[in-house]
């Protein structure tokens, strides 16, 4: 089977592109790191790729807020192409800074708050600091046709490394909408599953490392094609990357599902 070409989008300040490429490759894809410059210059086209990863980093230094400038670039240069790609079912995965940019660009779907504005955002961690630590995620039951659907209930251990990863909503109703539309893709779990049952982090640090509402670690759009999450599953694709603990819970199945959806 020919590995599907997967775009790893690189903007100035992107820095987890190489790891994302490793993850995609191990999952059976053909990763290609291409810079925004090439898209702006018309030297590359979204239609050349079967799937798109927006990796982590500090695009444009995040000087105007995490992902804000990249979101502007996406809207200005790639929005139609991306929207078409999504409509045709090609998977899009935003990790950390890529998630921030997807959300702020509107590509994750306009979750309406009051007056039709975006109702969900990613903002400063509750402790006001950058935070790097391993967390446990659970893939939540998402919309049936989404490429995550087959992973529902799966656990992933991987690190977070961000300063602006707190999911915040404009009002409590937004959570209800996200839940009813099955758009909450990942939640943080408590490390403390002693009785063998999963337990959500319950907003408690450090299992929920940033104070996200509803322990939300990632979201998807209404079709399930566009997925974003703050933690880094690409940093746990082989066993030796894990800091002890039981085997399994790698991020690789996530990338396999992504690459399969891209085929």
């Amino acid at each position: 089977m020919t590995p599907p070409p997967i775009l790893i989008l690189h903007a100035p300040g992107t820095n987890r592109d190489a790891e994302a490429a490793v993850a995609v490759e191990l999952a059976g894809g053909d990763p290609r790191i291409v810079s925004m410059t090439d898209f702006r210059a018309g030297a590359a086209s979204i239609s050349d790729f079967a799937g798109l990863v927006l990796p982590g980093g500090f695009s444009y230094g995040d000087a105007l807020g995490a992902g804000v400038r990249l979101a502007l670039e996406l809207r200005t240069w790639l929005f139609e192409e991306l929207a078409n790609a999504v409509r045709s079912g090609r998977p899009v995965l935003g990790i950390c800074n890529g998630f921030q940019a997807l959300l702020k660009s509107g590509l994750l779907g306009e979750t309406s708050g009051p007056e039709g504005r975006r109702g969900v955002t990613l903002t400063d961690n509750a402790n006001g600091r950058f935070e790097c630590r391993w967390v446990t995620l659970r893939v939540e039951p998402v919309f049936g046709s989404g490429w995550l659907a087959s992973l529902s209930g799966m656990k992933i251990r991987c690190p977070v490394a961000h300063g602006e990863g707190r999911v915040a909503v404009s009002d409590a109703q937004v959570i209800g909408i996200l839940e009813s539309e099955r758009r909450i893709a990942f939640r943080y779990l408590s490390e403390d599953g002693r009785d063998g049952r999963d337990r959500l982090a319950g907003g408690l640090y450090p299992a929920n490392p940033n104070g996200s509402v509803g322990d939300i670690a990632g979201l998807c759009d209404a079709t399930g094609a566009v997925v974003g999450l703050m933690p880094h599953p690409e940093d746990h694709v082989v066993d030796w990357q894990r800091p002890g603990g039981p085997p399994g819970a790698r991020g690789l199945p996530l990338f396999k599902a992504f690459v399969d959806a891209a085929r």
Partner: protein, 953 residues
């Protein structure tokens, strides 16, 4: 004149607001109840209301969390303080806002930013002023004002070519000295005379730029004059005898010992910007550690920020892709209550918080894992914090070109040149006092990591495309040093008129000497310039052709048609007179000590919560230590990720096809140095090596780096201590058979005549043959054996317990005569899978180390540690003898370990499933009679003491 629009954006639940309230309370200022923090943007340009609305919606305001006010701020009865970067200080936010406006197709906009703080509560003017100065703004880089600040907008322009001549001819000695002092040249009389003589021979006076070029090149910071000096050392031993020795250059001595050891895997030592060793058949590793002490004392965030930036460029300067960062920080004790500080000294807590934020900001944004380091707290660093910054890089073997050729273009890439960083090298070559902050304002900078990130991509690709013949970073001395060093054997012609500037009004000497960050200089053959330009454009990196290397042996700099510098390279690089210096050192005379009557269990908990031992999670978790996906040995280990790691283990991207990994570690102990700097060096080497071996590194593949931070070397006591430490390094390299591959000294770490304790940092770079066999310090399984390698000492000099209890033992533990035997044995046991956890015994001694293993594994332990000579129980538990490691091993391997370790190690106990740490003290043999009741502490209590929080979390 355009209209200026003010936009104020407030996030509804900004965590910074609560932090400020908390920090104000720590300052001892009462009355602040709450704080509202806002971002302020000043926009100048022909913008319509719709334009501003669009810009706000697209990039300034998050609809979920932000509230915005356009125009005048809302009136309030509370004091409002606005803080803005000074003109010329890097303001990435403003620059990105201008670019965003352009991307939206808006009319040209000039932007300026500020932070606005509404201080809600009952505060008088004095309190507001204290909060502003001590917390919200640093006057060196920021303006602050009650109400709104006057925004400043930089304007693009070229420099003014004004070159002045400095009269040297006929100046008397006193005038030469005054000229050096008033011009911040940091040159002494001999050096000023050498310059005077040179220009007398040339028959003219120097230009300002020539004098500045010589001052920077000849600065202690760049030339390492002390390390090249002829030094007479008078060493008084504790028996009163005096040994006199002479040194013909400390740096040369370090080089010689490296040449003596000359392992086959050594690629480059001391010649380049970083030391280079082989990693595998394909790749080499480059490692460098720098210091950024003076700037960090004045502007902690910017100082540390640019410290990381600078050392990463050092690694780029050997054509390596940076892959990891390290840092070691020495601060004054972070006392909760405010304290009497000398005027001009920032509070140690502010220094710490700023330094940590600066390090995290730069490393995180470059996408480099910050993987290893240490934090040392000591009274000696209150006025002079130490900030050691390290960077590791990976490069294909033999890919680093180092020979510029005549005719090559001199190409600068990266950031623009401003007045920032002028006099950085000379400023770091003098002590500090109250007035330093005013004089050195421009020497301190804020970094711009994203610009440097672009340079990293460009340099890596340019290397692979073989676009350059030589490369170096713009560090101290700026273009002057970079071009002067690269063209040392050729000569160079430079035209400064084309250098892109951050703002108008720079004089040619300022462009030439500016230490603005994020710049690299490359020697590029004419035929490759366009290829490099295309690469730079692709990555959005600015590139400038400054001139060419000539072959005339002269450094000729102009600004358009105006001559600026014309100096022979020979004089620039070899004209500085060799210094003759005197060092004196007296070993302390041992005095009998009296051990205090204390409860050992209490002492153990106090040691665990001592800032030097206690968990550094609050600091280290703000650094990304996972990026690049190759961090195996982490700063924190164990089942809950809160036990202390000994060294870092890294698997570089691009090398996954084999199982070898890189290990990094450090050793530092200024407390020993106060008593015996020679022993400090050997102990620091030993600690670094123990840390490496503990994570699985092979002691036969270790390279060392030295970093000397000392006071004013013209004072014989400071120099004597420094030379003794260097002699220790030489001895250590020989005993451990480990070469020094790179080093750096930072001298004049003094404030108002008071020096820091001479502080040697040893950084070690090693190889782990099989990453699957790397181990951590956390216990893994109840029922395991606990082994102790190495012997105790009854000497407590330099130990943490001595410091904690004020014991004042002046005898430091002996150094190891034959260290390698034990490390080879331990390494073999780790490599054959017989060891499940290993931990080095250092600060706090063996009891602390055992407790740390228990904390990491959340397992109990019962152990009996050996008596230490004539010492009692406390000494046995807390001595910091060299060469000790704790190993956890399955009982099935007991005979194997006994055979391999022989007399080097002994089984001292067992890991238990209980929740207590019980450590008895016994005789030297095993099994041994117990000396009194074991010291027992609760595991939860140990966790609380170490982490500062509840054991359940």
């Amino acid at each position: 004149m355009c209209v200026t629009t003010r936009i104020e954006v407030t996030a509804v639940d900004d965590p910074r607001a609560d932090q400020i309230v908390h920090l104000v309370r720590l300052l001892g200022v009462v009355g602040l109840v709450a704080c509202r923090v806002s971002r302020v943007y000043y926009l100048q340009g022909d913008l319509s209301t719709e334009d501003i609305d669009r810009l706000s919606r697209e990039v300034l305001v998050d609809p979920v969390v932000d509230k915005m006010i356009v125009g005048s701020p809302t009136p309030t009865s509370h004091p409002v303080v606005e803080v803005a970067p000074r003109p010329g200080v890097t303001d990435v936010e403003a620059r990105e806002l201008e670019r965003a406006a352009a991307a939206l197709g808006l009319p040209p906009v000039r932007a300026s930013t500020a932070r606005c703080y509404e201080l809600i509560g009952d505060l008088d003017d004095e309190a507001v002023s204290a909060i502003s100065r001590q917390l919200l703004a640093n006057e060196i880089v920021e303006l602050h004002s009650l109400g709104t600040v006057q925004p400043c907008f930089d304007s693009p322009a070229s420099g003014e070519a004004q070159v002045n001549t400095v009269k040297l001819a006929g100046l008397a000695d006193a005038d030469l000295v005054r000229l050096s002092r008033e011009g911040l040249l940091s040159l002494d009389l001999e050096e000023m005379r050498a310059i005077q003589d040179h220009f007398e021979r040339e028959g003219r006076d120097p230009t300002d730029a020539e004098l500045e070029t010589l001052a920077q090149t000849w600065s202690e910071h760049c030339m390492h004059k002390t390390f090249r000096a002829r030094i007479r050392l008078e060493h008084t031993k504790s028996d009163g005898s005096v040994a006199v020795s002479s040194h013909e250059g400390l740096l040369a001595a370090l080089r010689r010992v490296t040449e003596e050891i000359a392992p086959p895997w050594l690629r480059s030592a001391f010649d380049d910007n970083a030391g280079i060793v082989a990693f595998d058949s394909e790749f080499d590793l480059a490692f460098k550690v720098e210091t950024h002490n003076h700037p960090s004392a004045l502007e902690p965030f910017g100082g540390a920020n640019t410290g990381i930036g600078g050392v990463v460029r050092d690694v780029m300067g050997v054509s390596a892709r940076p892959i990891a960062c390290t840092n070691v920080l020495c601060f004054g004790p972070p006392d909760p209550a405010d304290r009497e500080l000398p005027p001009g000294v920032l509070h140690p807590r502010r220094v710490r918080d700023g330094v940590v934020a600066g390090i995290g900001d730069y490393g995180n944004k470059l996408g480099l894992p910050t993987v290893n380091g240490a934090v040392v707290y000591d009274e000696g660093y209150v006025a002079n914090p130490l900030v050691y910054c390290g960077a590791l890089g990976l490069l294909p073997s033999g890919s680093h070109p180092t020979e510029p050729r005549a005719g090559d273009r001199i190409i600068a890439i990266g950031g623009r040149t401003g007045r920032d960083g002028i006099h950085g090298a000379t400023f770091s070559s003098a002590g500090m006092d109250e007035a330093t902050a005013e004089q050195a304002g421009t020497a301190v900078q804020i970094g711009d990591p994203i610009t440097q990130k672009g340079c990293i991509e460009v340099v890596e690709q340019a290397r692979d495309l073989r676009l350059y013949h030589a490369i170096t970073d713009c560090g101290a001395g700026g273009f002057s040093s970079a071009v002067g060093e690269m063209g040392e054997h050729l000569g160079a012609e430079v035209d400064l008129a084309g250098a892109p500037l951050k703002y108008a009004g720079l004089e040619p000497w300022e462009i030439w000497l500016s230490e603005a960050q994020e710049r690299m200089v490359l020697a590029v053959p004419s035929s490759r310039v366009e290829a490099l330009r295309a690469l730079c454009e692709h990555h959005g990196v600015e590139m400038t052709d400054l001139g060419r290397f000539t072959g005339t042996g002269r450094l000729v700099v102009g600004h358009g048609d105006t001559p600026v510098v014309d100096l022979p390279m020979e004089f620039l690089h070899r004209g500085v007179p060799q210094k003759e210096m005197v060092g004196r050192w007296a070993d302390p005379v041992p005095e009998p000590v009296e051990m205090p009557e204390v409860d050992p269990a209490r002492v153990l908990l106090d040691l665990l919560s001592h800032p030097t031992v206690a968990s550094k999670e609050a600091i280290v978790r703000t650094y990304d230590h996972e990026v690049r996906g190759g961090t195996i040995g982490r700063p924190f280990v164990g089942v809950r990720g809160d036990g202390p790691g000994d060294g870092a283990v890294l698997k570089p991207l691009g090398t996954w096809r084999h199982d070898a990994a890189v290990a990094l570690s450090v050793g530092i102990n200024p407390r020993i140095g106060r008593l015996d700097p020679w022993s400090m060096a050997l102990h620091a080497i030993d600690e670094a090596v123990r840390n490496l071996v503990a994570v699985g590194a092979d002691p036969a593949r270790v390279a060392l780096l030295d970093n000397f931070c000392w006071g004013d070397p013209t004072k014989p006591d400071r120099l004597g201590s420094l030379v003794r430490a260097l002699e220790g390094c030489l001895e250590g390299a020989r005993r451990y058979r480990m070469p020094f591959i790179s080093g750096k000294d930072s001298l004049f770490n003094e404030f108002a005549g008071k020096a820091i304790p001479g502080t040697l940092l040893i950084s070690a770079l090693g190889l782990v043959p099989d990453l699957h066999r790397a181990v951590s310090s956390a216990f893994t399984r109840a029922g395991s054996d606990l082994w102790l390698v190495g012997d105790p000492s009854d000497r407590l000099g330099g130990s943490l317990v001595d410091d904690l209890l004020g014991i004042c033992d002046r005898r430091v533990p002996p150094t190891l005569g034959k260290p390698l035997e034990r490390y080879v044995a331990v390494h073999r046991l780790i490599a054959d899978g017989s060891v499940t956890a290993a931990h080095d015994v250092s600060d706090g001694g063996v009891a602390v180390a055992i407790a740390e293993m228990a904390i990491g594994g959340r397992l109990g332990v019962e152990a009996t540690v050996p008596m230490a000579g004539s010492g009692g129980v406390l000494t046995a538990l807390t001595n910091e003898a060299a060469g000790r490691l704790l190993l956890e091993s399955p009982p099935a391997r007991r005979d194997h370990l006994a055979a391999r370790l022989g007399p080097l190690g002994r089984r001292i106990g067992v890991v238990t499933g209980s929740s207590s740490i019980e450590i008895a003290v016994g005789g030297r043999a095993e099994p041994q009679p117990v000396n009194g009741e074991p010291v027992s502490i609760d595991l939860d209590a140990a966790v609380r003491a170490f982490t500062g929080r509840g054991a359940g979390s």
